[in-house]
Symmetry: C2
Subunit: 244 residues, 2 copies
């Protein structure tokens, strides 16, 4: 299967064979990690951009007293550290949720590709801005949505993001993370995550067993979670002719 970064960016701009090739060349697997390992720690100086090729990772922050917040979830095709170029130290940690394969791209490699292929530069901008939009939507979820809405909203988001890189079937996808991690991401206790999952299952909105999530009726879950996908900005630029 082709490179998930290529598949992801093609949701925004149409890429030529050379552009795809250039991207694939710099996004080759360079590092493999097990589940629950740290890629980088709060305060580290970063040397390259990490791209997830396989598995799930996350940004997180740990408070002095141990409380942990998962700030973002990274799926195959996601760039983890676009800030590497300007800021000297990270202000958060980067860890794996499952076992993960990463591409570590150097600053110069990214700069060169962006200079040579302006459309790739634009696509990378898009990726960065969508990441920011997702972060804003998480702010809304944590601030306003109830537990059921919050979880349902996350399922909708992750399903669409996985679909964008070809990792879903019609109604289901892998869902390999623990309820404890879900809790850290949603600002809820594990116990309450469990209660809420039970409720969503009872309402027939999801099935979740053994790392497999099924959303039998997406519009229903969407309505129950007040999910509006426009923040994902997945519509392809209409000014780019689509001729395959």
């Amino acid at each position: 299967m082709s490179n998930p970064l290529v598949r992801k960016l093609e949701n925004f701009v149409r890429l030529s064979p050379e552009e795809k090739q250039a991207l694939e060349k710099i996004a080759q697997p360079t590092r493999r990690l097990g589940a629950r390992e740290d890629v980088a720690r709060d305060g580290d100086r970063l040397r390259h951009v990490n791209v997830v090729l396989e598995g799930w990772a996350c940004r997180y922050k740990q408070l002095e007293d141990g409380r942990r917040q998962v700030i973002s979830i990274f799926l195959p095709g996601d760039l983890c550290d676009p800030h590497v170029f300007v800021l000297r130290k990270t202000d958060h940690s980067l860890g794996t949720l499952t076992s993960v394969v990463l591409a570590e791209i150097s600053e110069t490699a990214i700069r060169e590709v962006a200079l040579q292929y302006p459309r790739l530069a634009e696509a990378l901008w898009w990726e960065m801005l969508v990441t920011a939009a997702i972060q804003r939507e998480w702010t809304v979820s944590l601030g306003q949505r109830l537990a059921t809405e919050r979880l349902g909203h996350l399922f909708c988001e992750l399903f669409l993001r996985l679909r964008a890189v070809g990792l879903t079937s019609e109604t289901s996808c892998e869902f390999p993370i623990t309820q404890a991690d879900l809790g850290d991401a949603m600002g809820l206790s594990t116990v309450h995550i469990n209660r809420t999952l039970k409720e969503l299952r009872a309402a027939g909105l999801i099935r979740l067993r053994g790392r497999q999530l099924t959303i039998p009726d997406f519009p229903a879950l969407q309505a129950a979670s007040l999910f509006d996908p426009s923040y994902l900005h997945y519509e392809r630029d209409p000014s780019v002719l689509d001729d395959d």
Copy 2:
């Protein structure tokens, strides 16, 4: 007093007189709004970057049923919409909290300045990345911090951000927003904001009366709120010689 955008960026890079002049030239006041007005609405197509010159503004999102989340607070010197260049529609609204003076900068003006002055381009990158870091920290606050910590943390953040543009005295600053807006930003009800303010006042951590906030003992408030300012990335680049 000089331009707040210039003052803000100088917290990161040292700017030459020409660089300052170029920045000031494109960040001139072009629009004045009253309190509680919308600058742009969810779904709008944006044509320029808005920079706050005076007053406080915010990003917010309103759910179908009326619940409102303030996603970011913008102070003088802040850029509101760096995404204008790539994404076609906003996914959130932009509104004023107080009366506001804006500079509306066109895409081309920003591009030209960034091309001509690489150090300004870098400074604008920094500003964008710090904005993202602030967003991540809000995620942590909403997900993990209790009401007192959450409010205290916000006070610490806003005080430092205002100080970076010269809008504080030794221990106090203007604080012109209502408890209702504070609630929408912190994901708390107005009633609970009020209760929590009472508690912070009783603990001697803040004074807040008539749009004026005083933090008599910053380290004390910082400790009580688990506030670590490193995410604001305010240390100036040491590779840039500082010779005034």
